[in-house]
Amino acid sequence: MEQLFHLYAARIKAFFRHHRMSDEEAADLLQETFIKVYRSAGTFQGQSKVSTWIWTIARNCMLDYLRTKKSHESLDEILEEGGSIDAWLVEPVNEEQTDMKNCVQRGFSSFAMAFPERAHAMRLAAFEGWDMDELAGFLSRTPAATREYISQCRKKLSPFLEPCRAWLEA
């Protein structure tokens, strides 16, 4: 349990924070996540990766919390989506930011502010090496809906990476 905690806790806490949770809320949700991991360890069948299992528990804890906190809003409204992205779009890069790493990280940070749920799904797919089915499990979507979700992520990310186009296409 200790190893699992040290492997995932910091990233899960950061995940909660990126969903606009306060320090206290993030700490409480982290506790709840690991208590659920501890309680449900006996029922874990090993049919999915440990990472998918833990992250799904973390996400569900957060959704349950948000549902009680904002019961009048739909799940999509709670999680993000909608509104103008213009407010989050990055300014064109200036001469001092003329390296690709800076440009991409800056663009993605702005994207993450506008679409935290999508940004985190992409980060997890990248970091954990999840395939489409594993990501679908985490998002509680069908594989087809997940393919559409990914397509939308790519489309929505595109304007944020526009200033980096020259590097990305090089």
Binding site: M1, F5, A9, R11, Q31, R123, I150, S151, L168
Partner: protein
């Protein structure tokens, strides 16, 4: 036709993003996202959270009785055995029997090296090993044939990897994370 091409582009992009392929915009983005993920994790101090969790687990244990605790603990070890390579003398000793697909997690400071050594050793013994590398993990999918040769069994036992009773074995080598940055 155009829709099909767009769907293929999306899939290729996702393959790069998830580390299945190493080229293209998806792969490039993946490298940056992994860095962001690591940097964010370093900002979080979870020492107090761990103490709090230990307290909560003791409370759970007292409430549920020892048998529930034992079941949960053994199941965690069963499906996700997390070992540090050092010190071996402190490693728990249990004879876990696994059926079907089994996944083992090995956390080490030299994950790539350890994975490489096991891969080469098993391949030398005629075992099919498929490697899949992600940001900080190397997955070895080991296709065992039964009965398992003594040398293969020894190679796994040396590394304290329990042998599944049947089926495939997946071993995840995870690079141990750098310590959290003080705030």
């Amino acid at each position: 036709m155009i829709q099909n091409k767009a769907a293929q582009d999306d899939l290729a992009w996702f393959d790069g993003l998830s580390g299945k392929t190493e080229t293209g915009q998806g792969a490039l983005l993946r490298r940056e996202l992994c860095e962001i993920e690591r940097a964010d994790a370093r900002q979080e101090d979870t020492a107090h959270d761990w103490q709090r969790l230990q307290f909560a687990m003791r409370r759970e244990q007292a409430r549920s009785g020892w048998h529930v605790f034992a079941m949960a603990a053994s199941a965690l070890i069963f499906f996700s055995t997390v070992y540090m390579f050092k010190p071996i003398s402190e490693l728990p000793k249990e004879d876990a029997v696994m059926r079907g697909m089994a996944e083992q997690v090995m956390v080490s400071e030299t994950a790539a090296q350890d994975a490489g050594q096991l891969e080469v050793e098993l391949q030398r013994l005629g075992v099919k090993v498929f490697r899949h590398s992600t940001a900080e993990k190397i997955e070895l999918h080991i296709r065992l044939t039964y009965p398992v040769q003594d040398k293969v069994r020894a190679a796994l036992e040396t590394r304290i990897i329990p042998l599944p009773e049947q089926g495939e074995l997946t071993v995840l080598f995870i690079q141990s994370a750098p310590p959290a940055m003080p705030k």
